[in-house]
């Protein structure tokens, strides 16, 4: 069992200034997940009649992309290739002090405590993250479009992005290039995606800029912190797509 000191960002709402508040917790089992440790703290706060710490979470199995904690200065905490909900307390030691903060980015305003507004990500997807095919059920047979396995696999790898925003939170420029390039790449690698390729990349990048995300300076922090291991190759691919589209357009 572990005793820990938590230093947690508390902010009543978007207009509040916010500050770090200290909370000691004890009796933490190494088998608990990080979020279960926060559950323990919240139950204690509720028992004392205090307001629990607000944090985003839902599936608790690393796939929905809801959880978004900046733990000891790293998105999703000290382990790589996992989300905060998959992080277990065995990654910490008795007596540790743990800083827990929200994602910090202009395009992700804080809603409350550790919860941020990531609707900017949705708006980027709405600008072009789709293939314009109606759901008539009368499209061609699925096997009429053979796709080279290597391309299909790479497209899948890009498509595994969970939209959590760790890439933005980890980037010193708060750039969303990894996120946007994952969707652009998924479609760029498939024949179905070619028809609208020009508009897609131009519109998505335009929306990304409008949302206030920063530029990419190739530091690669996003790739390191991405819980799904989305590769920087995708950014390179998007840059090629963008260049080609700009020349065409």
């Amino acid at each position: 069992m572990m005793n820990l000191t938590l230093k947690i960002w508390r902010q009543k709402n978007a207009n509040d200034k916010g500050k770090i508040v200290d909370y000691p917790v004890s009796g933490i089992s190494p088998d608990m997940s990080f979020l279960e440790m926060l559950d323990v703290l919240n139950q204690e706060l509720i028992e004392k009649g205090e307001e629990p710490v607000a944090f985003d979470h839902d599936c608790r199995e690393g796939i929905c992309g809801t959880c978004s904690l900046y733990i000891n200065g790293r998105a999703h905490g000290p382990q790589t290739r996992i989300t905060a909900c998959q992080l277990h307390m065995r990654s910490f030691n008795d007596g540790d002090t743990i800083y827990i903060e929200p994602w910090r980015a202009k395009a992700f305003p804080v809603i409350k405590d550790l919860i941020v507004d990531r609707s900017s990500f949705d708006r980027i997807q709405q600008a072009g993250g789709f293939i314009s095919v109606n759901t008539s059920g009368n499209t061609q047979d699925a096997n009429a479009i053979p796709i080279e396995k290597e391309h299909a696999d790479k497209s899948f790898d890009a498509a595994t992005c969970i939209g959590c925003g760790a890439c933005v939170a980890s980037c010193k420029n708060s750039s969303a290039m990894l996120f946007v390039s994952a969707k652009v790449s998924q479609f760029a690698l498939l024949p179905q995606g070619q028809v609208e390729a020009t508009d897609r990349v131009l519109n998505m990048v335009k929306q990304m800029d409008a949302e206030g995300f920063g530029n990419c300076t190739n530091t690669g922090a996003c790739e390191v912190e991405c819980p799904k291991g989305i590769s920087l190759e995708n950014i390179a691919r998007m840059n090629r797509e963008y260049l080609a589209a700009s020349l065409k357009g």
Partner: protein, 666 residues
């Protein structure tokens, strides 16, 4: 004559859907612009329905409690989606998928609905590929398939262990296209708290903005509930933390009958509970049973040694292992349906053969598959098939390719490497086959109120087969509801916008406000989680994998008492006009506390064993489920103020195209 009219079209089974589509009313494109539809939930069913309705021209308002429609819990579905494509040439057909689904559901589902599901299944795959969903492919560039429990063909399409994610992102992309066109107005971080019924028709909802706490009125000509299942009544489950019954339950309280609430799927392969702190359980996809073999030790002394740490599972000789599924069900082996596999695991653990400290775990072992694949790869590559190290390496590579993310997930949670030592698994609550009663058009007993996906009851009977939930969600949303809803909305082309300043909206809003105010003002001494966990324990112990009359009666009593205690003593911190997760949770748990009682009542009434509903009193000599002909019906419950006063209506199930037989997987 029952008051339930399932509206199944006349004619031969295979022609019903086509005939129905040809005969129902249509709304012309210009008139669709005058009609509003609300869709609650953005999972596979709700997301695909919202996108398709908007494409057709309706004005759609879509609601989800998550911060983005992409996060609905369909995202977590792992293994795959069924479709009767017969790409493998292994004898699959629409009829066979229909047959497997009805049999898998233990003959407790509606023939016509299931046949339609099988019929449109192939369209789903075509549609998703056209949308750019990156399914797994073979080297020839064509789509790959795998096999799931309860069937003898390979009809499951997949994208590694993230099929739900890829399909949901496909539906989300289709939604985004319509949001961009202004045809869907998206309300995220909104929770539906009531249905508004005007002149007997569903005409809107009351929703709470979870960020600001504002209570909002939204009107429409029809309301679609796509809010998923209610397995979180058990507290511990593979559902997301936020998954809840509230939208469906409020619909029930406004007149929608609730069907077969006791039909719950307890999935055999989940990571076992590790302690009291546990907040949720994690599924290990059924697809793992394609390659994993399930076993426990044959001898109690080995069980003891494993539990005290003096013996490793890898040290137990082949002949000292009990591959109990292969032993009991030689025809289907490790690929028996979920209900059968779960009960068999419980049987072994109850007999004292569980392999972890709590005695509630069995092994899922990949060593044989690693060796088999390794040898195959060595052979293909012209390498030495007798080089153990090489074979292991190659075999692990194949397994990683197929299930990599699942193995990684397991290792992160359990801190053991499943490539080297067998996984430990145990059954957990995973899906609910019961839900709002709907007719063939997917309309509930309230006109204009529809229920699709897991939120309805219609396709899976008493047990759902693996990879069929994704199929049903997308079938309902892409290909069924968009047709059938037109039949109803055709009568609304001259109605005009539905006003929200009417007494019905006022009354519904006032009720929502007073419920919230009561929770905030209560200032009791116990947290919401305290009650939720207690409810979960009652549900798991008395309404879980095995049920009996005595336990169910006591569950009904205990849940009613717990509900009283909840209203007396729950404490909800903060206030209603802000982001307040405890308040949202309190409302959801209040509804689970009512649903739980109806669930137990339904299980008590159903004096037979069928699929996921196992009554200890009704089993064969060999411990298999014993169905009873007199229970060949759907129980649909009408709300009458209290769960204890709910009135049961019965829809008889007639099987004209399939012979009702003993369901054997031996």
């Amino acid at each position: 004559m029952s008051i339930l009219d399932s509206k199944i079209p006349e004619g031969p089974l295979a022609d019903k859907w086509t005939k129905h589509k040809n005969e129902i009313n249509l709304v012309n494109p210009a008139n669709k612009r005058l009609i509003d539809v609300i869709v609650v939930g953005t999972g596979l069913a709700g997301g695909s329905a919202a996108a398709t309705l908007a494409e057709l021209g309706y004005n759609v308002k879509s609601f989800c409690f998550q911060d983005s429609p992409r996060r609905a819990h369909s995202i977590a579905a792992q293994g795959g989606i069924n479709a009767a494509k017969n790409y493998q040439g292994d004898g699959d057909s629409t009829y066979r998928l229909f047959y497997d689904t009805v049999k898998g559901g233990d003959y407790r589902s509606r023939e016509a609905n299931v046949y339609r599901l099988a019929e449109v299944s192939t369209n789903i795959i075509d549609q998703c590929v056209a949308q750019g969903v990156p399914f797994a492919r073979e080297y020839g560039g064509l789509l790959d398939n795998r096999s799931f429990g309860g069937v003898l063909v390979s009809r499951t399409f997949y994208a590694k262990g993230q099929t739900g994610q890829q399909l949901l992102l496909g539906a989300y992309a289709a939604m985004n296209r319509q949001i961009g066109r202004g045809k869907i107005k998206m309300y995220t971080r909104h929770e539906m708290l009531d249905v508004v019924v005007v002149d007997g028709k569903a005409r809107g909802i009351i929703a709470r903005n979870l960020v600001t706490g504002e209570i909002e009125r939204h009107s429409a000509h029809a309301v679609v509930i796509a809010s998923g299942g209610y397995g979180n009544a058990f507290y511990l489950s593979t559902y997301a933390m936020g998954s809840n019954v509230t939208a469906a339950w409020k619909a029930h309280k406004r007149g929608a009958f609730f069907a077969n609430p006791c039909y719950t799927q307890i999935h055999p392969t989940c990571i076992p509970v590790s302690g009291d702190h546990q907040s949720k359980l994690t599924l290990m996809s059924e697809s793992l049973r394609n390659d994993g073999r399930i076993w426990v030790p044959k001898h109690k002394k080995d069980v003891e040694a494993i539990r005290n740490g003096s013996l490793k599972p890898t040290e137990i000789a082949e002949e000292d292992r009990d591959y109990y599924l292969e032993r009991r069900y030689p025809a289907f082996g490790n690929l028996v349906p979920r209900d059968v596999a779960s009960r068999a695991a419980k049987e072994r653990c109850d007999a004292g053969y569980g392999v972890n400290q709590t005695g509630e775990a069995v092994y899922l072992d990949f060593s044989a598959a690693i060796e088999r694949y390794g040898k195959e790869q060595a052979h293909v590559k012209g390498l030495d098939e007798n080089d153990t190290a090489l074979v292991q390496k190659l075999g692990k590579g194949v397994i990683e390719n197929k299930y990599g993310n699942l193995f990684q997930m397991y290792e992160k949670i359990v801190d053991q490497n499943p490539y080297e030592t067998p996984m430990m698994i145990y059954p957990a609550v995973h899906y609910t086959m019961g839900g709002l009663w709907v007719d063939y058009n997917l309309m509930t007993t309230v006109p204009g109120l529809y229920a699709i996906g897991e939120a309805n009851f219609s396709d899976h009977g008493a047990n759902r087969l693996g990879a069929s939930a994704l199929m049903q969600g997308l079938a309902d949303g892409y290909f069924v509801l968009p047709y059938t809803i037109g039949d109803y909305l055709a009568h609304d082309i001259r109605t005009g916008p539905i006003p929200t300043d009417t007494k019905e909206f006022e009354e519904a809003e006032a009720k929502v406000r007073s419920d919230i105010d009561k929770l905030i003002a209560n200032k009791g001494s116990k947290s919401v989680d305290y009650f939720h966990k207690k409810l979960g324990k009652i549900m798991w112990n008395k309404c879980g994998m095995a049920r009996n009359e005595k336990d169910l009666k006591s569950a009904i009593k205990e849940i009613a008492e717990l509900r009283d205690e909840f209203y007396k003593d729950v404490f909800v911190p903060g206030d209603q006009n802000e982001y307040n997760e405890e308040l949202a949770k309190a409302g959801r748990v209040a509804d689970f506390l009512e649903l739980g009682e109806l669930f137990a009542k339904d299980a008590l009434e159903r004096e037979e064993s069928a699929g996921g509903h196992f009554r200890e009193e009704y089993q064969t000599d060999s411990g298999e489920a014993m169905r009873r002909k007199e229970y060949q019906y759907v129980s649909a419950w009408e709300y009458k103020g209290q769960p204890s006063e709910a009135v049961e209506h019965k829809e008889s199930l007639d099987y004209e195209n399939i012979e009702v037989k003993e369901r054997s997987y031996k």
